[in-house]
Amino acid sequence: MNSMVRKEERKANKHVASYLVIGGIVIGLMMIFGILMLLQQGGVFDVGPALFYQFLTIHGTGMVGAAALAAAAIMYYFLRQYVDLTPEIFVTNLWLFLVGVVMVIIGVFSFEYASAWTFLYPLPALSAGAWGTLGAILYLGGMLVLGTGFVLFYIDAGRAIIKKYGSLGKGLGWDILSGKRPVDKAPPKAVIASTMVIIVNTTALIAGTVVIIMNMIHVVNPAFTFDPLLAKNLTYAFGHIFANAIIYMGVIAVYEILPRYAKRKWGVSKAFLVAWNMSTFFTLLIYTHHLLMDPSMPKWALIMAQILSYSNGLPVLVITAYGALMLVYKSGIKWDLASGLAFLSMLGWTLGVVPAIVDATIVVNHVMHNTKWVPGHFHMYMGLGAVVMLFAFMYFLAKEDSGIKENWLDKFGLTCYTISFLGISGSFLVSGAISTPRRWATHIPDWMGPAVFGGVSGVLALLASTIFIFHFTRYMALRNKMGSESYEKKLA
């Protein structure tokens, strides 16, 4: 019986590791495009606008997709310890992801499709002759295939949680908040976070499906037109939620890693439950802060967008980050790559909240929306937060599963990554503060300095990421070499 369980676990770990390797490699590749874009903007070389905007499209799409994929692996790894997930669905999602990515890549590079990852209606159909129907269909179709995989994954997780805990409400601890059950009966943190992600991402993916198919119809037959403002709402509801959910899946790794290293218990409290319910609610609603420069929207919706965006900072600032700090404070924690990266990711996330809240302020948004301030804030909480969580989990898994040793190179990687990503996000924020417009293939000389600085920092970040991914592939190779028997022995 025990060996059966272990065998299954090994298989699950293999799938999780495949997710992480693919996610990690795609993230690395996308960094290259990011660097190329910054250097182009900095005037170091000139690839021309067509290629630049193709890079822009693939960079955004690829980063969000790959990070979401790897984060889904984290969610799967920890959630399956509590509920019954279907491995076949997990594998199907990976295959659909790969098919989708291939379609997107062909669409972008072979058919020169470049609508940015936001594919704001009616841009896919009206490219001023830059790309054709086929490119748009391949890209949008690829997104649809990718989305289908994720939908299946979340439905399966939702089904499993409902089966074990009764309902998604209970997965979020509603019966505990209402006082029907004591707080020590609360679901584990991985379940709470997963429930939140299931709710918000299923919503996001449905909105995404509608807007993607609608764009496809418009591309095939431009006589069908749609309301562009509604399309914009759906697009951002999809994009904002889906991108944000990455961090909510990734943080599960932090919840699991830090307590083990600090040898302290990070329990579920009522405040914790309140925080996650708030996050669920706010994440669903605050996408409207992307529409603050659309006065055609109802004014109350825009004012609510500012207020809710502020409030959305509270759960992380007061509960999650604070909890992590308490856990580490005077704990005699053992620092290695996994715990170090987990700690760093909390810093990155919290730091990123600040410029995000600043940008969600209507009067500030009026002069900073669609400047590089926006990529500044999300490179901070994505690059220095979400992606770091993924790397932390890679080191954690490698250590758990194979006992592979870390060396000075990995430590160098950590330092290098921290500094370089502060450089990248910092340079974006500076660019935003001097009004550099976002998504411009060329810059005037005044704007070039920060771009070059960001590009060079990007090279360092790529170097560090390569070290991390290299470490993880070493682990993969090692565990493939070990037959299951020798592995059994080692564990015994």
């Binding site: 009616p122 600040v354 009067v363």
Partner: protein, 174 residues
Amino acid sequence: MVQTVAWIVSLIFMMVIAGVFAFVFLRSKERRDYEPIKKKWYKARNFYAVTLIIIMLVATIYTLRELPYDQPVYGEGLEPTIVDVESVQFGWKMSETEFKVGEPIEFRVTATDVTHGFGIYDEDMMLLAQTQAMPEYTNEVYITFTEPGTYEILCLEYCGLGHHLMTETIEVTE
């Protein structure tokens, strides 16, 4: 200027956060019992949460007093100049491009093909105001120039391969 204030405020808060993380990191090697720490810092958290909420409330109320969406109240007998702006891939069609200092202007911005962004830049290339230029909708920007000079209109929403070429100049004279 709003950008400078936003940048400095962000920088201060980010430095405080980084400082707290660094402090905790430096104290992490020591090993103490968790219970007293929990007790002490949970109490501190209440204070911290309340402070944070108050800061946010004040900031919200302060920043929501005047919104760029509202038409300003014009002085007696002062009629705003209405400028129709139409954006197309890849250029701006404006009914007027020459203005006077102190003249209240309302830009009515729309688009005929895809979504663009209408951003007004001053001579130092600082962004003064913006709105989205969307097909089927008209968005308004209210502005009164206080300095003479050459101002620029830049596209602020990605609209295709000529996005970075969508610029136009407007002249403001005394």
